[in-house]
């Protein structure tokens, strides 16, 4: 099986073709540097994303949040749903955990701004 993707390593945006066999990337073509090869291997097997958004606090204000590290790309919408359901109370500070272990990813959702 082959997959087409656009490299995000730099503005070149090389069009990569990755051959995937049994869940393993065997070849990458179209890249013009090593970054493209690395990107394709990770993106085809285990794509990850940092999800950011807002959460509505118990007092009605919104606070910005993020997953502390990246989470599987397939879980992006689940994580966004979890953002929608949370109702944390003030005060919140940058780094405070708003949702622990979001969607079973093992990653916490933390506040990215301060709300006294």
């Amino acid at each position: 099986m082959t997959r087409q993707l656009t490299c995000i390593g730099c503005p070149m945006g090389c069009q990569l073709t990755a051959t995937v066999e049994n869940g393993v990337v065997t070849t990458v073509t179209g890249n013009t540097c090593k970054r493209g090869d690395d990107y394709a291997r990770k993106e085809c097997v285990a794509p990850m994303r940092t999800v950011t958004g807002t959460v509505r606090m118990a007092d009605g204000r919104v606070v910005s949040v993020r997953t502390r590290t990246d989470v599987p790309k397939a879980k992006m919408f689940d994580v966004a749903e979890a953002f929608n359901r949370a109702r944390p109370a003030a005060p919140l500070h940058i780094g405070d955990v708003v949702i622990a272990d979001v969607c079973g990813t093992g990653v916490d959702v933390v506040a990215t701004s301060n709300r006294e």
Binding site: P11, G13, I94, T112
Partner: protein, 419 residues
């Protein structure tokens, strides 16, 4: 009249970094004047990740990046005013300031750092025909409504402009449950980062329509649909390619304009291309003691570069107050053959630092090209570039030692790949 050694107009990333650098350079009497209700400027609403890779080696969100600078300002006890706007700066560096707390006052500054940022180009600037209904927002306004106020402008969205703000908002609206039907871009290429195209559009199967623009807007009270059409090489709509897309929201991400009304009131000369002040290597404007940095100087794509540039402006302002540098030989910088402008626009070949970073944008995408700096017909430096795009600001270091003694102008050019 209240007096201050250094007044910094704007408490966004540029103003904060300038204040910190000025204090580090030994200046005590600094005042940051911010019109918003919090320090940090536009970063407060830029809640996505991707800031600070150059400065901190990690990917922060906008508020996190800003907070690091705000914490420094607080630690250094640099005074600031919030909800306070500078209405006027006169040629003698008297600022007229208004705010709920201050009332209307005047402040005499010895030096000023201009850090007012930029504004979004409105619909009118594009002269998009059609009705003028509710539901049309510039991308930044929508970003504020969604991220800070917690309101959703609409649920069926079309975005015009594929700059980074437009792309970021496409993802943001999608994750908030809206359907983004298309991102239209009048140019044949996107001005946004490749990473944003992949992670904000491709991840969500949002089509990016290149060489396409909005040619009509329908809906009386509220927007009901837009008409998109393809454009030719001269960006004129091609008849017969029109397509009507029903929507309740049109977001415009069609360019940023440095906000220099105060600079003009102070008598600062502006550059016709950047829309920002003409500055030297110390980021001094044409008015002695007035410095500029950040998006008011020229629109950046990375906040890291803003912080670095603003640090330079802050240090220069402190130097101006504490021990003025003596002026030496001025060398003009200019862009040609694809280099649209340079910032700074001139350097002092004697007083400059050993290396000065010259920043500029190119006029179109190039592959396999090189950037060149020329003193007359002598090539001072050549930097090969696999890719150049208008969306990415270029940084070109010029070494003091490389500037010939008889040189009065350095010209930056794109050397295109041989066909």
């Amino acid at each position: 009249m209240k007096k201050v050694q250094l007044a910094i107009v704007g408490g966004g990333p540029a103003g904060l970094a300038a204040a910190i650098a000025a204090r580090e350079a030994g200046l005590q009497d600094i005042l940051i004047i911010e019109r918003g209700e919090a320090l940090g400027g536009i970063l407060g609403q830029c809640i996505h990740a991707g800031f600070g890779l150059h400065t901190f080696g990690q990917e922060l969100t906008g508020p996190e990046y800003a907070q690091r600078f705000i914490d420094r300002v607080e630690d250094m006890k640099i005074p600031y005013l919030l909800g306070t706007m500078v209405l006027d700066i006169n040629e003698n560096k008297v600022l007229t300031v208004t705010g709920r707390e201050t009332g209307l006052i005047q402040i005499q500054a010895e030096a000023i750092v201009l850090a007012m940022g930029c504004r979004e180009r409105p619909r009118g600037a594009l002269n998009i025909p059609g009705t003028r209904p509710a539901g049309i927002y510039s991308a930044g306004t929508a970003q504020r409504l969604v991220n800070l106020e917690g309101y959703l402008p609409g649920k069926n969205v079309v975005i015009l402009g594929s700059g980074d703000i437009g792309l970021i908002m496409a993802r943001r609206m999608t994750l908030e449950g809206a359907k983004v039907h298309a991102v239209a871009e009048v140019m044949p290429y996107s001005g946004g980062l490749k990473r944003n195209i992949v992670q904000c559009l491709d991840d969500f199967n949002i089509p990016l329509l290149l060489s396409t623009t909005v040619v009509d807007i329908q809906g009386r009270g509220h927007i009901e649909s837009v008409t998109l059409a393809q454009v030719d090489e001269r960006r004129k709509p091609i008849p017969g390619t029109e397509k009507v897309i029903p929507c309740d929201t049109l977001l415009l991400s069609v360019g940023l304009l440095p906000e220099n009304e105060l600079s003009l009131s102070a008598g600062v000369a502006l550059d016709g291309v950047t829309g920002g002040p003409v500055v030297g290597d110390d980021l001094a404007t044409s008015v002695p003691g007035v410095f500029a940095c950040g998006n008011v100087l020229h629109v950046h794509d990375l906040v890291d570069f803003v912080s670095e540039e603003a640090g330079r402006a802050g240090r220069s302002a402190a130097e101006y107050v504490l021990h003025r540098r003596s002026a030496g030989r001025t060398v003009a910088l200019r862009g040609k053959n694809g280099v649209r402008y340079t910032v700074p626009q001139h350097i002092d070949a004697d007083a400059m630092a050993d290396t000065v970073t010259v920043r500029f944008r190119v006029g179109q995408p190039y592959r396999g090209a090189a950037l060149c700096a020329w003193a007359g017909d002598r090539l001072i430096r050549r930097i090969p570039k696999r890719i150049l795009t208008p969306g990415e600001m270029e940084s070109f270091p010029i070494r003091k030692a490389d500037i010939p003694a008889d040189c009065d102008t350095i010209t930056f050019t794109v050397e295109e790949a041989a066909q």
